[in-house]
């Protein structure tokens, strides 16, 4: 199987008045052709910065990036080659489309930039792509503001597909949509993958969405991957306390209506991250070792990799009885009886 995206120890650091901001701090991931890698994390975890790096809007400070076999050795990848390898679908479907251009023109633009085909051939191709994403030809004459949110997101997807990239980076691509429309777009993503063999890097804060669409899931916290592996393994084994907290925080998935395990506090600043394990300040399982020593990703079997000193213990406690650990360690179980 070919690899369409490979990053090695990718870092994006920005200088800020308060110190170095480590938005992305050593990310090594790969996405195979036809595969979906889901990337979950809360705001400020660096997932969008990573996405911008991959599509070439911002430059990594360190590390290697290989797209479709073309490697970025610090000078950046030729913008045309990159555009044919990777495209992006954005969160806000209204901001992602130029309000002054017709839908047809928006989809045609990538072909024009790359000088693909004659005007007539391009028109034909645009109609084909539009059909593929579920837009009719009369939609092509419309303007973005004349369409609904779901239709606009289809336009965005069509534009991204025009250059036939092998990887689509979807940055919160369904987060701004209503549930009923979100399902339409998720189904569309799945259909397109089956038909075109597309690979997705699917970025979202919503673990339920990511679980549904992904083959593998990577969980990010403060610029690093804390857990990565096959979707179902990440979801059901919950080796990392952060993954576990994310799943428990999905309102419907809360262990019970009256018993919710809560994380304390907020994500610390990436300018001044905690020593050792960056998650330890919010972790219910944190011990002395966590402050001293940063855990590296290590194999947990079944393709699952976790960056936590106590992954075994946490996995063992899962599902059995969530209250059991509360009494040990510094865990806090907050009860919320109704």
């Amino acid at each position: 199987m070919t690899t369409v995206l490979q990053t090695e120890d990718l870092k994006v650091h920005h200088k800020t008045p308060r110190g170095m901001l480590r938005a992305v701090d050593g990310i090594t991931i790969h996405v195979d052709a036809g595969e979906t890698l889901g990337l979950v994390g809360e705001s400020g975890c660096g997932k969008s910065t990573l996405a911008r790096c991959i599509v070439g809007i911002s430059q990594p400070t360190e590390g290697k990036l290989t797209l479709d076999g073309v490697q970025d050795e610090g000078k950046g990848i030729n913008r045309f080659a990159r555009a044919r390898a990777v495209q992006m679908v954005f969160q806000d479907p209204s901001g992602a489309l130029n309000p002054r251009l017709s839908v047809g023109r928006i989809i045609e633009e990538p072909l024009m930039v790359h000088r693909i085909g004659s005007k007539r051939e391009r028109r034909k191709r645009v109609e084909e792509i539009a059909k593929q994403v579920g837009l009719a030809s009369y939609h092509l004459k419309r303007f973005p503001h004349e369409m609904s949110g779901g239709q606009r997101q289809r336009v965005s997807i069509a534009r991204a597909l025009a250059l036939e990239p092998s990887l689509l980076v979807c940055d919160e691509a369904v987060s701004a949509l209503d549930v009923s429309v979100q399902a339409q777009v998720l189904n569309l993503f799945i259909d397109l993958q089956k038909r075109l063999g597309l690979a997705y890097l699917f970025i979202s804060h919503d673990l339920a969405v990511v679980r549904y669409i992904s083959h593998r899931i990577a969980v990010m916290y403060l610029g690093r991957i804390v857990e990565i592996g096959p979707a179902e393994a990440v979801w059901s084994r919950r080796n990392h306390p952060y993954t576990r907290a994310l799943i428990n925080a999905i309102p419907d998935h809360a262990v019970g209506k009256d018993k919710v395990e809560l994380l304390e506090g907020d994500v610390p600043s990436p300018v001044n991250p905690p020593s050792g394990c960056t998650f330890r300040t919010r972790c219910p399982f944190a011990r002395e070792r966590c402050a001293a020593e940063a855990p590296a990703l290590r194999d947990r079997g079944g393709g699952l990799q976790v960056a936590c000193h106590f992954a075994e213990e946490i996995e063992a406690s899962n599902g059995v009885d969530q209250t059991h650990l509360a009494d040990s360690a510094t865990a806090k179980e907050v009860r919320c009886a109704s």
């Binding site: 809007i57 913008r79 045309f80 954005f90 002054r100 017709s102 990538p110 930039v113 534009r159």
Partner: protein, 282 residues
């Protein structure tokens, strides 16, 4: 597009100040275009006895100045100068301001720092004084006056365009253009610029008005192009006879006020009509 450009004029006409501004401006434009037809001998020719009050001679409805030149002819021909100077200066400063502001806002970083310090430096110089200085050094001619006005007024446009570019460049559709491999220049001119035309157009209408006033002021001070009869020149000529024949100053002054008022009204109306954000969000 039918909700956009096609009905721009229609929407402008429905706007009260737009209608008034447009009509006044058309009147001035008509005067400029018809000057050669109505007064083929030009504004300088002596056509009657000096100091004729308006209405004294039906052939010279606005009277004559102290040398016997027809004031109406001056008004018509002067409108050419005023409009030409206003429009040319505005075009120049919009061009310079857009390029500098656009590059500054799009690229940011050191380019932005350098260009904005330059803009700051230009803005600290009192604009009218520097226009006087430039004209004084280079010598008065229409071209010098236009250039002088453009040089002192582009920073305003540059700041405006920079702010718009800073806002628009963060939009996903601009990012998306970079991702499809579009070149920076193409993004600047085909994607961002069309989206900030509205504020630029509004600002230019005010700019034209300012340029007309600056030209009039320069001519009033005797720094105008000696070969061009402008409203400012007429004002300057009438000044000496202000007590005895105030109409000599009042007539070009009224023309000036009405033109500037028309441009400001039009600017207001354009601001309301061209502001798409307010209407699209619903």
């Amino acid at each position: 597009m039918n909700s956009g450009s096609q009905s721009l004029i229609a929407r402008l006409l429905r706007h009260p100040s737009g209608l008034v501004g447009l009509l006044l401006l058309l009147l001035v434009l008509g005067m400029a275009l018809g000057a050669g037809y109505f007064y083929p001998s030009g504004p300088w020719s002596l056509s009657g006895s000096p100091r004729l009050w308006p209405g004294q001679n039906p052939a010279l409805p606005l009277g004559t100045d102290s040398l016997g030149r027809d004031l109406a002819a001056g008004l018509f021909h002067g409108s050419r100068v005023s409009l030409a100077v206003g429009a040319a200066a505005a075009i120049f400063s919009v061009a310079i301001g857009t390029i500098i502001g656009g590059l500054s806002g799009y690229y940011g970083g050191w380019i932005d720092d350098v260009l904005m310090r330059l803009t700051d430096a230009m803005q600290t110089i009192p604009s009218f004084l520097s226009a006087i200085a430039i004209v004084g050094i280079v010598g008065p001619s229409l071209v010098t006056i236009i250039v002088a006005i453009a040089i002192v007024s582009w920073p305003m446009i540059a700041r405006l365009v920079r702010a718009e570019f800073l806002r628009l460049r963060t939009y996903d559709f601009v990012q998306s253009c970079r991702i499809i491999g579009m070149s920076d220049l193409r993004i600047i001119f085909t994607q961002i610029l069309p989206n900030c035309l509205a504020p630029i157009i509004v600002a230019s209408s005010v700019l034209v008005a300012t340029a007309i006033i600056v030209e009039a002021s320069l001519s009033f001070l005797g720094l105008g192009d000696p070969n061009a009869m402008s409203w400012g020149t007429m004002l300057g000529n009438g000044r000496a006879a202000l007590r005895t024949a105030w109409y000599m100053t009042a007539i070009p002054a009224a023309a000036l006020v009405l033109t500037v008022l028309a441009l400001n009204l039009l600017g207001d109306a354009l601001n309301d009509v061209l502001n798409p954000r307010l209407k699209e969000r619903s």
